[in-house]
Symmetry: none
Subunit: 208 residues, 4 copies
């Protein structure tokens, strides 16, 4: 859930400046990408939006795909940054899990467009970058695994080792489903009800 490790070349030396400028680039790009998609957004538009020239933009990246990576990374780490604090909650495993799910789903709800974007454009990333995003996803799944495992250890939950991974995955995916199946779900459920239902059903899986 740390920020990008993957190195993106830049013609500029000043590392501080690189960081600042790239932040601006991401802020400009993310909105455009989400609205129009990666392919339909032009580099010119991004430059114009963040108020600099194309030339300057290209001082900080090498290709348009670099911007995509920067944006994907930004979204992912944003989710990460926001999810992590919500998971340190005290309480028993059951409470921990419910809180974690609630937090994660609320964040997804707020970042719907970003989540959808992430899923739709990952493919356009070069393999290395894609791997990096996957890794990030894996880490987040691991958090839910841990909570569940903790519950298994202390006897709160009763499921096989293999099922732990599966259920963690399902929690993740059900959350994302709230975003990219919204045309189906958000007519029938409020976020609160969706969270409640998902928690209830998950606990059924874990306890009975």
């Amino acid at each position: 859930m740390e920020r990008a490790v993957k190195h993106i070349e830049s013609k500029v030396k000043d590392k501080q400046l690189i960081e600042t400028r790239r932040m601006e680039i991401v802020n400009a790009a993310v909105e455009l990408f989400v609205k129009k998609g990666f392919h339909k957004t032009t580099v010119r538009e991004i430059a114009r939006k963040f108020g600099m020239s194309v030339g300057t933009l290209y001082e900080y990246i090498r290709t348009k795909e670099d911007i995509l990576f920067l944006v994907c990374d930004y979204i992912h780490s944003s989710v990460g940054t926001r999810v992590r604090p919500s998971l340190g909650t005290t309480g028993n495993a059951r409470e921990k899990l419910v809180n974690a799910i609630r937090s994660y789903y609320m964040i997804i709800d707020e970042m719907q467009d970003y989540i959808i974007f992430l899923y739709q454009e990952t493919k356009s990333l070069p393999p290395a970058a894609r791997k990096y995003i996957f890794e990030s996803e894996r880490e987040m799944t691991a958090i839910f695994e841990e909570i569940i495992s903790g519950g298994v250890k202390d006897g709160t939950f009763k499921v096989g080792k293999n099922d732990v991974k599966l259920i963690a995955n399902e929690i993740m995916v059900s959350g994302q489903m709230w975003a990219f199946r919204r045309w189906m779900l958000q007519k029938n459920y409020s976020l609160a009800k969706y969270v409640e239902a998902k928690c209830r059903l998950t606990l059924k899986e874990l306890t009975s």
Copy 2:
């Protein structure tokens, strides 16, 4: 789950021929789309692959987006066509559900690349076409809802009305998850185990 209703204009009159040619176009395009994505595939490539000239290709469609729709529709109806027969199975609700899940997941396993493509490029479709695809998805979800509802009626399952929809959705999404989270899941599970686990967990949700 019927084939496309949405009309796509063609300069050719012979309806039989249109059908044949469009099938060829889809076959050529689907592979390229899946491999390179919609935007990175050129109309020229598709034409070359299906062994005809660009001109001929454009006799049967109006825009590149039409091809995308044709492909999306094809994938969707393929899944539909293959899923449907597996659902007529006799037996009690529990057996019906397990069979339906197994069939659906097996089909997804075989059509992994297509499923992933569908999720990633739906956004590029014009609104009308997108709606059509959603409708198709909704219908398929309804099948699972029916099976579950049947089980609720005859007392096999015990869940609230609202949960029926949710669980049906989760069955669908977990299936699709098998495809687009394969980098995570397919290392730890075989398809058979995945199906078995999903059925077991779902039945827990439905019965306890």
Copy 3:
């Protein structure tokens, strides 16, 4: 003012049929050409409009430009056919001239769109065809020259030989001007007034 002499090749032998079909082609094309211009009208459209296949269309012409020629020739000869009878009027030179002008201008008024088209697309004709159209125009001018010359001979008019040609030309062009400067003239004059004025002014030129 006779119909086309220029030979246009045809794959069909039956001369009667050629004549009939070409008439249909012209009828279909003329409207489209006038509305959309030559270049923006497609051969397909023409074929569709006259209710036959492109293949059949191409049995009777060799290139799209042939159609243009056919149309130009048709318009020109239509004007000719309609003008000629109006010129046999009896009476003195003055009356003859006034009648001829009135007739010609009325015909132009009715055929405005065609006249404009003629002037705008002549350039697209191959040189030979263009020459043919010019010839046709020359002949029509000659009619006015004759009437004026007649008047000069019998003493009604008093102008030099050179001026005869010039005035005849101006009569023609003023007529055409009614069509292609309509945005300027037709706000300020009715056709009747325009004819009256032109006649009056021309007679001034010829008599004073």
Copy 4:
């Protein structure tokens, strides 16, 4: 008779440069348009002729039609710029008129190809641009109207108010006729003779 007001978008910011480049574009295009017509001239040819890449060309215009407008505007304003100084001549109305006609006709003679082009391709302009060109034409006609009106006021000429407009129109059109009926006129007249005759006949109309 001022230069273009209608705004044409450009991706380039430097207004001076836009002016310069557009001038080059016009110079390249006008020759090609006149020789081959608008539709048969390709954007590539224009770019090649003005010695730059297509991309660069498109930095200064938005569509091919913009070039057409630029060219039409250029021709029109060239005529305007050249005609205007010739009209300030002192002298009585008669002299003024003769000088104006002579100047205008000489300019037309020099710019024959351009004039013809203007008449043939105006139709291809989008309505707004067409209106603009018409306006420009109207202004030029007004100059002749003024001279004649002046003559009427001081008693030199004797014509009704309505005829003023008509005669001004005819002067314009007879001038343009020198260009687009050259195949007929330029065999029989030298420019000088044509001007002399037109002046003589017009004065007859105005005085007798």
